[in-house]
Amino acid sequence: MSNQKKRNFQIEAFKHRVVVDPKYAEKTWKILEHAIHEIYNHNASGLSFEELYRNAYNMVLHKFGEKLYSGLVTTMTAHLKEISKSIEAAQGDLFLEELNRKWNDHNKALQMIRDILMYMDRTYIPNSRKTPVYELGLNLWRDNIIHSGKIQSRLLSTLLELVHRERTGEVIDRGLMRNTIKMLMDLGSSVYQDDFEKPFLEVSAEFYKVESQKFIECCDCGDYLKKAEIRLNEEIERIAHYLDVKSEAKITNVVEKEMIANHMTRLVHMENSGLVNMLLDDKYEDLGRMYNLFKRVPNGLSMIRDVMTSHLRETGKQLVTDAESSKDPVEFVQRLLDERDKYDKIICQAFSNAKTFQNALNSSFEYFINLNSRSPEFISLFVDDKLRKGLKGVSEEDVEIILDKVMMLFRYLQEKDVFEKYYKQHLAKRLLSGKTVSDDAERSLIVKLKTECGYQFTSKLEGMFTDMKTSQDTMQGFYANHPELAEGPTLVVQVLTTGSWPTQPTITCNLPTEMAALCEKFRSHYLGTHTGRRLSWQTNMGTADIKATFGKGQKHELNVSTYQMCVLMLFNNADRLSYKEIEQATEIPASDLKRCLQSMACVKGKNVLRKEPMSKDIGTDDAFFVNDKFTSKFYKVKIGTVVAQKESEPEKLETRQRVEEDRKPQIEAAIVRIMKSRRVLDHNNVIAEVTKQLQSRFLANPTEIKKRIESLIEREFLERDSDDRKLYRYLA
């Protein structure tokens, strides 16, 4: 290595030749200014981009950015002022076209200018915090054209005029509109909003206010809604075609407010065409339209819901309290089901199955079904009718559908325990008379009730079915053991477990000797295999098939009740019997006997007996004979079915009393359960808890609960707290 002097390398800036020409800046500017002019005059083709760029670059480099910038501003402004004049001069429809054309020109020019001045854009402008070229160009356009006195208002009114024309059905140049609006948007959102959108919304509001007023005077509700929907869709389409998408929500709000919200109440309650009429006539389309439109405004849906609810409750209440419809329970329930189906369909088809509407439907039904205290009874009768004959020939799926619908009504009942009582009675009659159409349907309903109410509700009902089956087996066993009886009358016995079946007072009448003997044999057979049990014959519930031969030899097989059999058999040994003789011989209770005789002597087609005198009612001095002239088309004649009837007033009262009595121990049990676990509880909470516990069976009456509490205090299950008389304490 040689001994070299250390050299510091310095890299020096690459310098241009500095031309220190005082007129340099001015000369360069003039070149650029000229270029701008040419650009605006559509003579740009003759320019050299590279040269212009270099000139601009040099100016900025030599610290003449300021001059360049201000020159740009001045030049552009001057041009724009020219342009402005030419736009102002445009006549009528050409105004917008001219504006658009000039705007396009300006944009093109601006791009070129920006490209040329790009160096300034990147260096001088950020440094001196000035507006970039492109943006500057837009602002100058805005200030000199759009906000020029002569143009500003004319532009707005032209645009609004075009919108109005389109609203009144004319076809306008949408492309032109789109470009103009886009121009405003490009100039800045505040320009679009202040120079167009705000006034547009105001004018639109006014327009729709007037229009809606006009429509509402002359249209019915359905038509009005159609028109409103059309207008709404138009506005949405308009937005899509030539307005800023952000305006959509705002303009739709205007339409919604003016056309819907402001007239909501009047529309809904419009006579002959409002909501109620639509509901009555099942106008699904109109209702759907109303739903969709009202959904857009505050409280729209709740208004529909409320009107629907109050109408439904009113209709339901009338249905339920109408004396006429109460005469036929099956009809009564069918009408309820139909009403429910109707509204279900409406909610499904028109109200998009909205949960809130479903809830309104359910709460309304719950309200009015319970207005009629006989609803539980009637529903049971409906089911009874269906299971006896209504479901004959119906497919399995359809059976399920009907039963499910019945269950829906059942759920609405507050007094489910009343239903249970009637259902038991009716089921008993069905089973014992063998009159059920489908065993499967019966079982299916029991299962549904069990799912709904729990095992306890249905355990006794199931017990009834079991008894029927067991009885069959017992009968088989009986005849197997007594083959000698196969010759005589056939006995069919149903052995009923007392707890499961509805309680009946036991009235035994005198059976004909043949039957009495047979029954005794059965009794001994049964008690032989079931020691420790007690049997009592329920002669008021049986039936008999008797072969009868009448005066002219006509033979018939009569299907009668046990009582009727007892009466008829007497005539084997006597031609004439007085009422009193019959009563004495059979020992049938008076009211039953009268009914029994009436059905055999006074009913056309079933008059196997003749009565003297021939009055409709049975008197205690009447006399009876076999009707030798009895005729019937059929060989088998059915007299006297034990059909489940709507209860008479006294029967109804009795059932209700029994229900009330049954409730007392249930209430007490609930009170004891609650107090046992809580130990100490205040009065109001006791009431609340008890009510809640019993809700699934019936609505507990607070007064009744209070009485039960007092009874429990009396029997020393509970006591009042010595300091706070409202507090109860459980006594172990």
């Binding site: 109001n684 007064t703 009396e714 009042r720 409202k726």
Partner: protein, 231 residues
């Protein structure tokens, strides 16, 4: 220790001198004498005749409420009879060993009814005392009689309406709970029923009573007026 009046002291002195007994024993003997005077000849109890005689001696009407107070002191289990134990308990509690003392204590017993606390105890005692032995409830007639007696002392303006109501609508025996709650009711609820709380866990009978008062226009407060306007 009893304060002995002059003549009394002499008697006791005499007794003590003659028998040589202590003062306490002497007093006991005097009490026993009283008991002997009233007790029934055939049973070891004071029965109706004895009570009548006693009332005579102390110059008090047998229907006088003071007899209830006396029974309360005795912790008597049932009316119209006192067991020996009960009689002595009463005498002891009241500090009585002679008829003179007895008569002196009457005004005191009357004053006890004015004491809020004691009245309550006496009132509640009356239920058990007035009812039939072995019954759980008090017969209506007896109850009404007792109420009229008791509420003559402690003024309750609604007592007559209450009794009328019971005779018209209830016609059954009165339970203990109803009995005791009635006093609460009389004490806390004012006569215009303005502070009657329907959710106040009052016995059902009292609720019915309020309804009865409203229905018959006996109470005319804002409550009942709105009810009428609904009719």
């Amino acid at each position: 220790m009893h304060k002995l009046g002059r003549s009394h002291r002499d008697k006791v002195q005499q007794f003590m001198t003659i028998t040589g007994a202590s003062e306490k024993a002497a007093l006991q003997a005097l009490k026993a004498n009283l008991y002997k005077r009233y007790k029934d000849p055939y049973t070891d109890m004071i029965l109706v005749d004895g009570i009548t005689l006693l009332c005579n001696d102390i110059q008090v009407d047998p229907q006088d409420i003071v007899m209830l107070v006396l029974s309360w002191h005795m912790k008597a289990s049932t009316m119209c009879e006192y067991s020996k134990q009960e009689f002595f308990t009463g005498l002891q509690a009241l500090g009585i060993d002679s008829l003179g003392k007895f008569r002196e204590r009457i005004p005191f017993m009357r004053s006890e009814l004015k004491d809020e606390q004691k009245f309550g105890e006496i009132y509640n005692f009356a239920f058990g005392w007035a009812k039939e032995k072995g019954q759980k409830s008090l017969a209506l007639d007896t109850a009404i009689g007792m109420w009229q007696l008791l509420f003559a002392e402690k003024q309750w303006p609604l007592v007559d309406h209450w009794c009328q109501f019971l005779q018209a609508r209830h016609n059954k025996a009165i339970s203990r709970d109803t009995w005791s709650q009635l006093l609460e009711f009389a004490r806390t609820v004012d006569t215009s029923l303005s502070n009657y709380d329907a959710e106040g866990a009052w016995p059902y009978l009292i609720d019915e009573f309020v309804e009865y008062l409203n229905e018959n226009g006996i109470i005319s407060n804002a409550q009942s007026m709105t009810d009428w306007s609904k009719k």
